[in-house]
């Protein structure tokens, strides 16, 4: 049951083979057993969760269930959920109980989904290993000595370890796709503006986008049906007609033009990763796809551009955490300035501070033109690269991450090495395009453990349904996505 697809679970619920309360309790039991070790969740509230499950059962009995009614979903702790502690992985918000619901939370509530808990994440979504979380690192379910990726590391571990039926994540530079790759499941970052950012705690507003993290493309499509849609409370939300993201899942891929950016296969890619990716692409050929070499000439500039723009926005977005109205306030201070300084010095971790400093610097008088403006110009060039590429192909494929999951602590003290984790994902955010990571096989680690490798699929604007189709068809002829890690029995269990 824990491995069942969302569709199967919905059928079981509809057929009364299981109740939402039972299903939810099953996951809660697994969480109680494994979470102390894996640390995927920051906040759990069994009573609140089970109350939602009970309500879902009533709704199912009344015959007005949706595709996700009664399904237990893990929510990244970046989404404000009324009555839930919403920490964003930071000491700054350690005791912040959200008084309102994010749009995404409201959408799941309306669908009758069950909120299983709030998942761990890098502090304010800044990180690629989940190691910047104030609430501790998260273990990769495939190898507990390794990181799950980040920033949506808690959601990633929860999906991979089957501590939820599906989860939400957010992706500013790869925070859905990179952990999906490192933990071996399917994750989708939609086109910027497709999912409302209202109530999603901002890191870099022009890049942040929420999306599903789930066991398959089909599950992601069902999640998208709930998450996507216009919201007038987000000025960057796009007013488009509601889509059914499952509509194209079963289309054949004959004639699909797959663009392969030569830059993605030249630089930085680990041979152990390259091999499964090439095999996956071969599989697509077998499915009828045509391979086309393309070029994204400015992609090498993605990381420097990103590390100007994202910190610039972040430095401003995080100014509200000043200890005045909510959040952490230093216990002792001499005056207003001292209160600001101490509260922020104590409330933020090192990576967040680093980015606030970078952002403040690049926006400063005298530096703005050289950094921020220049970066915006290159951002446009990066988007144009994709525009050109999509004249020649329907989707772009390549690796999601340069390597498989790395050891905890391995890159924690080397920010640049950590930043390079997002080498292949960041350009997609800069261009505002949709991107996915799909399990494409395993590489074997030095200590002999299988580690998942993710294939990245990049689509044109609003092409999510097609990308899901592309991923789904692959998942019909492979079973990488269906593989789950064997978890060691938790200590003390029989």
């Amino acid at each position: 049951m824990i491995n069942s697809s969302l569709k199967t679970l919905a059928q079981m619920l509809a057929n009364k083979e299981i109740s939402s309360v039972e299903l939810t309790q099953t996951f809660l039991n697994r969480i109680d057993a494994y979470n102390p070790e894996i640390n995927a969740y920051i906040s759990l509230d069994h009573d609140r969760t089970l109350a939602q499950a009970k309500a879902a059962d009533v709704r199912i009995a009344a015959g007005n269930a949706t595709a996700l009614t009664g399904i237990p979903i893990a929510q990244k702790d970046i989404f404000c959920a009324q009555g839930w502690k919403t920490t964003c992985g930071s000491k700054m918000l350690e005791n912040f109980i959200a008084p309102y619901d994010a749009h995404v939370i409201t959408q799941f509530d309306h669908a009758g989904a069950v909120n299983l808990g709030k998942t761990n994440m890098d502090e304010f979504a800044m990180g690629s290993s989940n190691e910047t979380s104030y609430f501790g690192g998260v273990k990769n379910p495939w190898d507990f000595s390794r990181v799950p990726g980040g920033s949506s590391g808690g959601s990633a571990a929860a999906v991979a370890a089957r501590l939820c039926a599906a989860a939400t994540g957010t992706d500013t530079g790869g925070s859905i796709r990179q952990p999906a790759s490192l933990c071996g499941f399917t994750g989708l970052k939609p086109t910027y503006g497709v999912v409302s950012r209202y109530g999603m705690i901002a890191f870099a507003s022009s890049l942040d986008q929420a999306g599903p993290m789930a066991k398959s493309a089909e599950d992601c499509a069902l999640m998208m049906n709930v998450m996507a849609g216009f919201d007038e409370r987000d000025s960057t939300s796009l007013n488009r007609e509601k889509e059914d993201y499952t509509r194209d899942l079963n289309k054949p891929l004959q004639g699909l033009r797959v663009g392969l950016p030569k830059e993605f296969f030249d630089i930085g890619i680990d041979p152990s990763t390259k091999d499964p990716i090439e095999k996956a692409i071969q599989k697509y050929q077998e499915l009828g796809a045509e391979l086309i070499e393309i070029s994204l000439p400015h992609s090498s500039l993605s990381i420097p551009v990103y590390y100007v723009l994202a910190p610039a926005e972040a430095s401003s977005n995080l100014s509200r955490y000043d200890g005045v109205r909510y959040g952490h306030r230093a216990s002792e201070y001499t005056d207003l300035m001292d209160m600001y300084c101490k509260s922020r010095a104590e409330g933020f971790g090192a990576e967040v501070k680093r980015r606030i400093l970078i952002g403040t610097y690049v926006l400063s008088a005298g530096y703005y033109d050289a950094y921020y403006l220049k970066a915006q110009q290159i951002r446009r060039l990066i988007a144009q690269d994709f525009e050109e590429a999509f004249k020649k192909c329907d989707v772009i494929m390549g690796p999601t991450a340069p390597s498989t999951a790395f050891k905890a602590g391995q890159k924690a003290d080397d920010p640049v090495a950590m930043y390079l984790e997002d080498l292949y994902t960041i350009a997609v955010n800069l261009a505002g395009l949709p991107g996915m990571s799909v399990p494409a096989g395993f590489a074997t680690s030095a200590d002999g453990k299988p580690l998942p490798v993710g294939l990245q699929i990049i689509g044109n604007y609003f092409d999510e349904a097609r990308m899901l189709n592309v991923a789904h068809q692959y998942q019909q002829v492979t079973d990488w996505h269906a593989q789950a890690p064997t978890l060691d029995k938790p200590e003390g269990s029989a």
Binding site: F79, C80, T86, C88, L93, F96, A98, P99, Y100, A102, R197, Y198, G199, M200, I201, A202, A204, S205, S206, E232, R233, D234, S235, T236, A312, E313, S315, S316, L318, S319, R320, Y321, D322, V324, R325, Y326, L336, Y340, T360, L363, S364, A365, Y368, Y372
Partner: protein, 482 residues
Amino acid sequence: MEWEVVIGLETHTQLRTNTKIFSGASTTYGAEPNTQACEVSIALPGVLPVLNKEAVNCAIKFGLAVNAEIAPRSVFARKNYFYPDLPKGYQISQYELPVVGKGAVTIQVPAVGKNAAYEKVINITRAHLEEDAGKSVHGAVEGMSGIDLNRAGTPLLEIVTEPDMRSAAEAVAYAKKLHELVQWIGICDGNMQEGSFRCDVNVSVRPKGTEKLGTRREIKNLNSFKFMQQAIEYETRWQIETLEDGGTIQQATVLFNPDTGETRAMRSKEEANDYRYFPDPDLLPLEITEADKTRVQAQMPELPEAMKLRFETQFGLTSYDAASLTASRELAQYFVETVDAGAEAKPAANWVMGAISAKLNAEEKSLAESPVSSVSLASLLKRIADNTISNNAAKQVFEAMWNGEGEVDAIIDAKGLKQVSDTGAIEAIIDEVLAANAAMVEEFKAGKEKAFNALVGQAMKASKGKANPAQVNEVLKKKLGA
């Protein structure tokens, strides 16, 4: 050395919208602290701004009123600084691309001493939309400062002039003109006590005849015209004295203390923030089309300049009278209503600017509070025009109307002020007067012109002031064969 003062103004006008500029919270003034602060107002994690279209309409109206360029595309930017009453740690404002570009207003600078009144064009540099901050509240809780975020997010239009003013009088005339204009077009309630209209004044001095601008100091948050006048005069003197004493002026922000009448530096340029402006990624650029402008244009009232010209041509008023009547929209409206109700324009203008304005001033009332409505004033003026009452009697009637003693005709009847215009009755009175004042008649006939006026006076007295003076003159002349 003769010095010249150079003044530019930045005015924050609070826009009259029901809700805040980026949220649905109410903007009503004076509510209990923090009762009008929604999740956006207090900047909870995850909230986002959504632009209030009504605030944009206000900006367009202003642009149209000062004949300015209205930007087809303008951009909201974040002005970053920390302050407890600034909940996001940044203010959403407009920086490089403001909604309103260059425009102009014409001011009337009143006569002072031997200097005659004159007109002057003041150029508007720009006007941009932004949100107001909250307020710090001191003393409500012992030993602590409170924050009231009711005002946070209230829409403001910041209107910036070129450094075009050359005296405190010009600056005040501009501020008054702007104050009236924003109320005239209905975008601001103009309430200076409540902070709806706040002026920052940039003052510098330079030797007369030189081009280069001196270093300016900015006087912050002046909320009365009187204080503005005093502050500029003090600041100008201070700067000139400082320079004449061999000192230099440091760029600074200063506050005016109404108790001492002095300005005092609040912070110097060195302490000034680097606001790290950048385009707000949460808001799309603001696009205003020609159709938007046309739509707003249709909602615009006739502007004071146009109305002034119309009063001159349509009613034959002098430029001065027309300007006075269009100094405020309610005054102009009252005048127009009086004329529409049947009064002649010139007497209506005289009465509105004379008796009505004097009464309102004396009792510190607004026109809306006038006990004599425009229609009532018109009925009074009609009774003068149709010779029912004399001008003198009209003053008594007006006084009674002001005191709520009733409508015009009832008061005329009650007080017996109806003018006698019956020739027979007037002849009878004059016969009596001539008979009783034979000596005066002799004097007149002997050539003393003054005696005639004395006889008129006697006749008016005999009629208890009710005789029509013109008729008395006429009949008397006839009888005396003059």
